[in-house]
Amino acid sequence: MKNRIHTQLVVLLLSLFATQNLLAQRNFTLHQHQNMHQAIHLNPAFRPNVRVYVNLALGMHSFGLNHSGFTMNELLYKRDYDDSLEFRPAEAIAKMDQTNHINLDFQNELFGLGIRIGKTHFSLTATNRTQFSFIYPRDLFRFVFEGNGGSLLGERADLDGLGLKFNSYIEYALGANRTFFDDRLVLGARFKLISGIANVHTAKSQLGIYTDPQTFDITIDGAMHAYSSSPDALNTLDFNLQNIGFQNLLNFPNLGMGMDFGATFKLNDMFDFSASVVDLGYIRWKSNTKNFISNDVNFTFEGVDINDFMADSSSFVNNFTDSLTGVFNASQNNDAYTTSLNTRFYFGATFKVLPVLHLNALWFNEFILGHYRPGLSLGGTLKLGEILSASANYSIYGRSATNVGLGLNLRLGSVQFFAMTDNVLGVLNLSGSKNWHANFGFAVLIGKPDKAPENKSME
């Protein structure tokens, strides 16, 4: 009967995660399952409680989507007197921060191998990473929906930071961690060799539109530096396998390197602490680069110069176009450039209330295009023997305080299956959520679970 309940619960979570709307990237829930091999992606000091772990393409698939600006319900308001939806961009704008993000993250562990030898655990993984971030300022929506003659009149429409970052790469990571001081301290690190596939990002994006409240003169200021490196397929629109970029898996046309560092510390039988920094590194993009560097623009449009128009109306349009071309001028080059990885920091604490119940706290930090994005998660993990561990958490991140995560890790003999989400509300209330996340995988585990540390702590 117990197994039946477990099975049904697993299937329930699986079906929830199977809906493609569940996406996320921070993996707060996975962080609570520190004894899973997959958790080394969050902290290289985490130690799987298995001697050998093998993943052949299904080990971990993590998808995440976060929109920090507004929810669909805030844009489409449900009227009280009927069930129709009313388009209310003003409401959505009011909910926005000055700078808002749409983040999409895919992480697929294509290959994974973990071996514990003595006090040292070694890991080797190959992971496909795809990250897309679109950053838009609130004033972009204000400009589009309100126009420049409403609340923006006399105010600079601040479109600074409008930009995107798209990263696609394969990382090959070799990691190790080792226990110290009677297994109370674990230090770990992973070295990553990275092969970049494609990148587009705006290194500098400044844009302001100011409308004079009296004359309505429109002043545009700004500058844009955009860099790209793409497979031949994007340049030639010839999507054969060779052009798509699979050759980049191994020949490293865009070489990068990265490091993860982590540590865990068992304070006593009640409290554990962890800290990690992951994705500390860079990629040097050299392949098919196209870079656009605009000059600094400060241009005021005052309308048609009647004097010029009357003097020579025939060439007025050409002259005006020429002057605009001179103002909004951009140079192009094919220089190689370097981007940093999206570095993240995790600081965690675990309070072992009972041997089967742990309470977790996690502070998450991330920097994307110079924007700091924190997150905080409080949760609990239930360990039901060596077969099942389940977790739940409440998180605040992405300018959303309505995130409830659920996770389940099931070990059936030599087969491991897990499914997790950082926000199950995202699927139950799709239009009312800002965060969607799913993380699941299958793997082969060889060897019995290592119970010794758990027994020690319980004793």
């Binding site: 489409l76 009927d82 129709s84 939806l85 126009g147 003659g149 409403g150 309308g303 009647i306 004097n307």
Partner: protein, 536 residues
């Protein structure tokens, strides 16, 4: 039972998908998007040239280089008197005979000798209107002499015009009349008069007269002479025209006309209002290369309001003027005639009632004092031109001066997407002029559908002036013309737009004199704010 997990999986997956609160985009009710756009449309800076001389390039804004003071000068070419209209040349057409007696021939049954004699004949060269021609240089013409005689003998004629010289030599030609058994027998002589100097004074003894000397040599053929034979001579010219001429051209009326000068400044005037230039002047400039005294008589000088026909006469002005003339052929001299406050009684006030034309009568007479010691002269290119310049120093005051214009209007664009339009006119005015305006939108029957303002509204605030009448502070005015949904819905019916402007100088009704300088300008800015109404 082994398949139970699979069944659970399918059931729960279906439950999860169905129970998800997904956005129902088909439930989105019709809603509106009302972006508010504010854009600048046009701007410009207009100086005195743009404002006062834009309509007609012939009008000239005159700047005093020392003070920068501005004056408007309306120029007009009034009339031209050509030299050929003063002196015309009639073609010569005369006949005379050379009798046997003139040729010293007496009756004879048979004449075989040779007798040579000379005969001098005068004929007249007449100009039009009784002008006295003394000398002239011909630029074209042909002189033809035809001879016919009934003498049954050969005759040799030597024709000489002592008063017509070409290259300093008198014009001369031999003509042979050969008898061949029948009479009369004829001959002719043709002279090209181009570049011929013609002296019609016969040695300063007369005028309008040419002399021809004909030497006859009769060679006897043995035939008889009755004594009544003669030689018939006809003299004629064709295309004879002078390059220049000297003489006395008489007292002729060479001009008698009425003319007017258009004041563009008042072209669209409503005929209302009052303005006064403190020191206007009308200049008539006569340029003459005609070498004779001409006296002009200016009459009935007045201003006319075209709309009402009301006329205002200039009084107290001198009406007769003698035009200076050159002292030598090819010379050009000017005569300046000025009417201003000093030599008229009311020139300031007759300009004031917003006239459109300055009208006058003009006549001209030559040699008003009769002959003089100096000869008149002129050439075929001689002219006397009279030009007028009405100079209005921009110094004075005005009020109640109105302009009105109606322009067709036809809206073809779809304005259903527009909820609100506001045109903003910003006038930064450096001129001491105030402009009030009203814009009326009318249907095809000129019924006013709506107006831009409830009443005429000041759109150009006047600049303030100091005690010298010089601008000391610019005027600034922002005017919004708002068209809301009610007005916008009527726009398709609008077929005409009437624009009415009322202007005055700064404190014009109080008689405050303002002055205009070349550094004044008007900065105009037109912007638009529009609220769209897009339903979807």
């Amino acid at each position: 039972m082994k398949n139970a997990p699979i069944h659970w999986f399918l059931w729960l997956a279906l439950f999860a998908i169905v129970s998800c609160k997904k956005p129902r985009f088909d439930k989105i009710a019709s809603t509106a998007w009302n972006p508010n756009l504010a854009v600048p449309l046009a701007y410009g800076t207009f100086d005195v040239y743009d404002i006062f001389a834009n309509d007609n390039p012939e009008d000239l804004v005159v700047i005093d280089q020392t003070t920068g003071a501005v004056a408007l000068v309306y120029k007009s070419d009034l009339t031209v008197i050509d030299g050929e209209s003063v002196v015309g040349l009639n073609q010569i057409n005369e006949n005379f005979n050379i009798s046997s007696a003139d040729m010293n021939l007496s009756a004879s049954n048979g004449f075989s000798g040779s007798i040579t004699t000379s005969t001098q004949k005068d004929f007249s060269v007449q100009g039009t209107s009784g002008v006295e021609i003394h000398t002239m240089l011909l630029k074209s013409g042909q002189l033809t002499l035809n001879f016919s005689t009934n003498l049954a003998h050969d005759v040799t004629l030597t024709i000489t015009f002592p008063g017509i010289t070409i290259g300093g030599n008198p014009m001369q030609q031999l003509v042979q009349l050969n008898y061949s058994g029948t009479v009369p027998h004829v001959a002719s002589a043709t002279f090209n008069l181009s570049d011929a100097n013609v002296d019609c004074t016969v040695g300063n003894t007369t005028v309008n007269t040419l002399v021809v000397n004909i030497q006859t040599n009769v060679q006897g053929s043995g035939q008889s002479i009755s004594g009544s034979e003669n030689i018939s001579v006809s003299v004629s010219t064709s295309n004879m025209a002078f390059a220049n001429v000297y003489g006395y051209f008489g007292q002729q009326s060479v001009l008698n006309l009425s003319d007017s000068i258009l004041f563009n400044l008042f072209q669209n005037g409503t005929g209302q209002g009052y303005f006064e230039f403190t020191n206007p002047s009308l200049r008539l400039i006569a340029e003459s290369s005609i070498g004779l005294p001409i006296r002009i008589n200016l009459s009935n000088l007045r201003t006319i309001i075209v709309s009402s026909g009301q006329e205002y006469l200039l009084t107290g002005y001198p009406s007769v003027f003698d035009i200076n003339f050159p002292s030598f052929m090819g010379g050009l001299v000017q005569t300046l005639i000025v009417f201003n406050s000093a030599n008229t009684s009311n020139i300031s006030s007759i300009i004031s009632p917003v006239p459109k034309y300055l009208a006058f009568g003009l006549s001209a007479f030559t040699n008003p004092d009769g002959p003089s010691a100096n000869l008149n002269f002129l050439s075929d290119t001689s002219k006397m031109k009279i030009k007028s310049e009405l100079e209005l120093p921009l110094e004075g005051f005005a009020y109640g001066f109105g302009v009105r214009d109606t322009v067709p209007f036809n809206l073809t664009q779809d304005i259903a997407l527009i909820e609100y339009v506001m045109f903003r006119l910003i006038m930064d005015n450096g001129f001491p002029i105030e402009l009030g305006a009203q814009v009326r939108f009318m249907d095809e029957n000129y019924n006013v559908l709506f107006s831009a303002f409830n009443q005429s509204t000041t759109v150009v605030e006047p600049a303030l002036v100091n005690s010298e009448g010089v601008v000391s502070q610019r005027g600034y005015k922002v005017t919004d013309i708002v068209l809301e949904e009610d007005e916008l819905s009527l726009l398709p019916d609008v077929k005409f737009v009437e624009i009415e402007g009322n202007t005055q100088t700064t404190d014009g009704p109080l008689g405050l004199v303002v002055k205009f300088f070349d550094w004044y300008n008007l900065k105009m800015k037109l912007s638009m704010q529009i609220v769209a109404k897009m339903n979807f």
